[in-house]
Amino acid sequence: MHELSIALSLLDLAEEEAERRGGVQVAAIHVKLGPLSGVVAEALLSAYDLARENTRFERCDLVIEQVPIVAYCPNCRGERAVISVQEICCAECGTPTPDIRTGRELELSALEIIDGPADATCGSPAESA
């Protein structure tokens, strides 16, 4: 289980990105996750719950978008879905497809930031009105 260290890295990165945008308040962290990243979504969600405690992201949601494995099929001459992570073959014609184009993602894709008064969920330390 390395999801906790992944969750901590994710929060470090989110912090850096929020700061770079002027210390914006973050309502949610959006992550893209591929089956070949070595990270399991459910485990990442639990680890995130632990990791965010007592941080500025304590009340931020983690939104995981699962990215399918897509590979280049030399037979179909195009990018195609694969049968499964256990069978890296074109889902349409069954040709083995070692040239993987997506599915390795472990990426902070976006931050959902809050505009307006700073009384809401989380982000920068709460400012009193």
Binding site: H2, G38, I88, E107, L108, G116
Partner: protein, 227 residues
């Protein structure tokens, strides 16, 4: 009133920090002409026995060294040191994998530029090491004939991130009824076209072939630097 939110695109790898360190290590190794090989497997697949043999065999002609990762104990480092090669232990504590920064720290004060090969034995684990680039040129995934032919199907990601599959303990293959065809089929399903080699560190079967393969790969990798 609910606050207004908007989505701001970031698109950064979560392990960006690790990747930055790994890239720097890879460049450094390349500049120094060191070919770096990492080994991953489940605990007990025979990484240390295989590596001890590789260090001994390759070490006759080449300058070799090894880093070995474990949660606790430096037993493996002692075993590997019997080959005569310089060995450093990385004790990870509770961490189930090596990260690029640990490799960098372990190399502090060492002289890798005087090496031809550096081997990095990861913590025995077929899950977590898959996510971390260590700056290696070649990643070997080992699995033994005693583990079951469906190991690749159970841990497809680690096979998919590795370059070569090494089937170990071949001297036990017939005793345990190892189904070679099924093992090859499963490896090829999760990583089409993957190079597969069979070895026994105990009997020495397949070791010469592996060393030749390694030398060829290393020569290929060093070529551009020498032009």
């Amino acid at each position: 009133m609910a606050p207004q939110t908007r989505l701001v695109e970031v698109r950064q790898k979560v392990l960006k920090q690790n990747d930055v360190v790994a890239r720097a290590l890879r460049q450094q190794f390349h500049d120094q002409g060191v070919y770096v090989v990492s080994l991953v497997s489940s605990p007990g697949a025979g990484k240390t026995a295989f590596l001890e043999r590789v260090l001994t065999d390759v070490g006759r002609e080449r300058r070799v060294a090894a880093l070995v990762g474990d949660l606790a104990t430096d037993n493996d480092a002692h075993r590997l040191a019997r080959s005569g090669a310089p060995v450093r232990q990385i004790t990870t504590g509770t961490i189930c994998h090596l990260e690029a920064e640990m490799v960098k720290t372990a190399l502090d004060g060492w002289q890798p530029q005087s090496l031809d090969y550096l081997f990095i034995e990861n913590v025995g684990n077929l899950v977590c090491p898959a996510s971390y680039d260590l700056g290696e040129d070649l990643r070997l995934v080992l699995f033994s004939v005693t583990e079951g032919e469906d190991k690749p199907l159970k841990y497809p990601t680690i096979f998919n991130t590795a370059d070569v599959a090494i089937i170990t303990k071949m001297d036990l293959a017939s005793a345990v009824g190892f189904d070679r065809e099924a093992a090859y089929r499963n490896i090829d399903a999760v990583r089409p076209g993957m190079r597969i080699m069979e070895v026994s560190a105990r009997s020495g079967v397949g070791m010469d072939e592996f060393v030749q393969f390694l030398e060829a790969r290393a020569a290929e990798a060093r070529l551009p630097a020498q032009v």
